[in-house]
Amino acid sequence: MGSFIQYTLQGLASGGFYALAALGLAVIFGVLGVVNFSHGSMYMLGAVGTVVALDEFGLSFWASLIVVPLVLFVFGVLLERGLVRWLLKLDPLYNFLLTFGVTLVIVDLVKRRYGSSGMPYDTPAGLRGQIALGGLELPTYQVFAALLSVLVCVAVWVILVKTRVGMIVRAATEEPDRSRALGVNVAMWVTPVFGFGIALAGLAGVLAAPTRSVTADMGTNFIIILFAVVVIGGLGSIFGAVAAGFIVGLVEAFGQAYAPAYAQVLIFVLMAGVLLVKPTGLFGSGEHS
């Protein structure tokens, strides 16, 4: 029973990284129609940025939680304004290739500057050790990471449901052409939404820094799982992206515990299973074009 709860917590913590990043991927896909391949490298930049912020600027983990996503927001805005925007009128494949290229450039630049070996990042003071919860000793940092991801996802959810921008982004995410035909100026939201999506991937990276091996290549595996998450949740579904993020995290954690050799395979078995039963994903409407 105790180990069951531990695996659940571990799953929720890493699921939180997936959920945050997938949420960013979903809003970008929704509003721009762009499958952002560079999302994995933004997650990596979030983690590497956290390490660099401490090593070179003496910035604490807590400061990085705010500063690194903000810097990535600005980076996302520049990326959208400078490159992505110019290809929006073309086939979506062009931006997929563009962001793939951006990934290669970013990863190699990071390698050139910081090498390709792991960069250690200590668990921040105050979040070390174990915390006693209901008679169980749980790693404090995992409890923190899981709670914070859930909190941010809920906060984004509330913004999407309760505010006008949320209504517009939801509308534009689900049916961009429909929204434009209702007179909604979708174009106005393209740049901020892209920056916001990138910032979410960056936040996932900051949270991952103390628990993962921080390397220039850490985004490569991450983006593959992330695509599985988005497919399972339903492309274009915001709720689906978050739910599937946590589901995949849990599958991965239990897989690693009970069948370590198949932990990764399980995720793709799950994806194949979902596609067979519901080709549009768990929460996809299937009418997104």
């Binding site: 006008r164 517009i168 689900e174 434009r180 035909a181 007179g183 100026n185 174009a187």
Partner: protein, 254 residues
Amino acid sequence: MSTGSAPPILETKALTRSFSGFTAVNSVDLTIGEGTVHALVGPNGAGKTTLFNLLTGFLTPSSGTIHFQGRDITGMDPERIVPLGLARSFQITSLFEQMSLLEHLELALASGTGLTRKFWKSVKVLGRFHDRGMQHLEEVGLADRANQAAGSLSYGQKRALELALALALEPKLLLLDEPTAGMGLEDVDRTIELIQRLRHGRTVVFVDHNMHVVGSLADEVTVLQSGQILAQGTYDAVRADERVITAYLGESHA
């Protein structure tokens, strides 16, 4: 080519759109008289949907011009065309599955007011559109479902919501893309009735394959084939046109 005597609300000149070598709409001169109901018919691939997308700004013409109420709207974005009084419905129902019917109407009503720019405002601001939203839902017989999610509606009800949304934009010209597609007979008759009611004070252009619908509604019919206007006139005149019979039934019947 125009046979209508009403002053034109919409006029295209040599409107053309090509997709990498294939010309979907080829030099179309179309004039829609104000206050008329105009049907666009033609076999699949004749360019009807492309023409709709050009008129509403979802596609940019390769060449030619579009004037709406005397104003050049060629190449304008959809969200700028809508407030001028030109709205459309979609062929495939494209609704926000998780939003309530009333939210749909409120979004449509708010978009014309510039309120969608004030993003920090709470959704409650939309409350001011509540009554008008309900009115439009009543018009199409969906008032009792105002708070349901659109995803829970039947096919016919979704089509009715599409119409309510188009009406909420208060268009002077309403473009309906296959308003009766996929409907059973009963729903088709109800939709015909609905369009007959909402045509008052408006101009309507619609695409439909159902000749019963075309015959009951249209003052004027334009037949498209291979991206070009094949014939234009009243329903009876067009139906008797030999070129049209050939296009629809094939050479052997001509």
